[in-house]
Amino acid sequence: MEQVYVKLELIGFRIGRRLAERFAPPNRRLTDTLDIVKFVCKDIWMVMFNRQIDNLKTNHRGIYVLQDNKFKWFLRMSGNNGGAAAARRAQPYIWLPCGIIRGVLDSFGVNTVVIAETLGLPQCTFQIKVVNDA
């Protein structure tokens, strides 16, 4: 099963790199990582989901947590007896958006690892960890 997730993330990565180039602010270049993450939370999320990330937290040492309380692709996902079981079943669907975020950051030259988890549908939280290569 693992292999499929890697492939989904790769597809997302390829999408992210093109989204960044296409929807980057036309007249100025983003250089500061926080600016780039904000670009993801506002512009990229707007293009993809017609809404923005609900809240962004960071420890200013390379970790960013993006929380989307109504993740669009989860909006119709539902199981029986509450969201916990469904949340587990939604796991495969988070790899593509993780890849997209990593792709966007990569095209600005920021190397990252992106993972996500969902405590209860339709909420979804993405965690970006900047990997500063030597």
Binding site: R14, R17, R18, A20, E21, R22, A24, P25, P26, N27, R28, R29, L30, T31, S107, F108, G109
Partner: protein, 134 residues
């Protein structure tokens, strides 16, 4: 408006993605032009820190050549060797070329940051040159 230009697109790792001679052929060999562009890249990096704008105008001079540069959000560099000063025309030329580069991204089989082989791209660059530079 003198009628000789050399236009090149340089990838993030300084590898050439595309190059072309525009207008009347000058006697110098193509390698000299490549050398001039390559040498100017360091100056482009310096210019990038000074401003977050994409269009960096003229960053270098070599004999009677001016070297102008334009950096896209994902650090792809458009370089133009030209004799006469024509900031506005060159800016328009660069922005349209950037738009053209975005179009190639729409082709899923084109990997960003790799040499652009499509003839259609070559034809369109020449039409843009005729429109703005001649």
């Amino acid at each position: 408006m003198s009628s000789t230009y050399y236009f090149a697109i340089v990838g993030t790792n300084d590898s050439p993605l595309y190059e072309t001679e525009l207008g009347v052929q000058r006697d110098e060999s193509k390698y000299l032009n490549q050398f001039i562009v390559h040498a100017a890249l360091d100056l482009v990096d310096d210019a990038q820190f000074m401003s977050t704008a994409c269009y960096l105008k003229t960053v270098d001079r070599y004999n009677d050549w001016n070297v102008s540069a334009y950096v896209t959000p994902s650090n792809i560099r458009l370089m133009l060797l030209h004799e006469a000063k024509a900031d506005d025309a060159i800016r328009l030329f660069f922005t349209d070329c950037h738009e053209l580069y975005l179009k190639t991204l729409l082709n899923p089989f084109y990997e960003p940051n790799t040499p652009i082989q499509s003839q259609a791209f070559d034809v369109k660059v020449n039409t843009l040159a005729k429109k703005y530079l001649f």
